[in-house]
């Protein structure tokens, strides 16, 4: 038994073990299942009510941005903040940066991730199998984006769009007052 135990220790001391990577995914999946099982009422268009998940994401994002930006100087403009989200905020959370950023320079940004971490086990090559369930996996991340932008001083609406599965587009609409 002894060699096995020491073996296990050397394995877990590595910075990214299996548990590090998957713990968030399993926990996220359970939270999603819990929230979905709790809300029976659907809204008018037959879509599921995922606001609770979105709210959780909002507060997580609001807090996490505090820590991630501590080494950073102040941002000059809105676009810098969005760029920061794409290149420095995304990788520690989702293991890769955002693949594509588009904007109309009037407060609408489209962030595209071609292999979104929470979706990549569900489909590849345009499979449509889990397409109608996938918004459940995205709601938390939409909130995360909205919350992190809120703490940077941008009030926004975040929507997600999925057409083929591992890829996902987040539409950020900045609300000007």
């Amino acid at each position: 038994m002894k060699p096995q135990i020491s073996d296990l220790k050397s394995h877990t001391s590595g910075s990214s073990g299996e548990a590090d990577e998957s713990l968030f995914e399993y926990l996220h999946a359970e939270i999603m299942n819990y929230v979905v099982s709790k809300n029976v009422p659907m809204n008018k268009d037959g879509e599921e009510n995922l606001t609770r998940l979105e709210h959780m994401g909002f507060y997580v994002g609001y807090r996490i941005i505090e820590r991630i930006t501590r080494e950073w100087p102040r941002f000059k403009e809105e676009l810098d903040m969005i760029k920061f989200i794409c290149t420095d905020f995304w990788p520690p959370l989702f293991q890769k940066p955002i693949d594509n950023l588009k904007t109309n320079h009037q407060g609408i940004y489209v962030l595209q991730d071609n292999e979104f971490r929470l979706l990549k086990r569900l489909g590849n090559n345009d499979s449509k199998q889990y397409l109608c369930e996938s918004p459940r996996l995205i709601a938390f991340t939409c909130g995360l984006l909205r919350g992190s932008l809120a703490n940077l001083g941008i009030v926004s609406i975040v929507k997600a769009e999925m057409t083929s599965l591992p890829s996902c587009k987040f539409h950020v609409e900045v609300q000007r007052v």
Binding site: S22, R121, L122, G123, N124, S127, Q129, E133, L137
Partner: protein
Amino acid sequence: MTVHNLYIFSRNGVLLYYAEWNRLNKSGITKEEEAKLMYGMLFSIKSFVNKISPLDPKEGFLYYKTSKYTLHYLETPSGLKFVINTDNISQNVRQLLQQLYSQVYVEYVVKNPFCQLNEPIQSEVFKSKLDELIKKSPIFLNRSL
């Protein structure tokens, strides 16, 4: 070298997945009956091997071989059973089964929140990744027999 077919059983003997590539002889019974028969035989062999072994059986049953084919068996500590039939000259099939478990089953079934565990696998990604793994392995050589 060739891979004939593959069964995945849960801890309780539910057939989670079946796939076949080069199978020439059909059993003549339904897939469900065949799965029960297969599971029953594996269960018996396992207990036979463990009881009859003159030494500590360690991993127990690993494979059996007939004049025509070899059945390779991998059971995980959680009770999942991977069974693959190949011809007699295939090498490193155990390694292939390990890969199948860790790179395909865990990744695309366990980590998919919409897959129910211990129920037959419906995921299309799982099917395509499994097919890909088997077809790119050196054991799989499509040969008309």
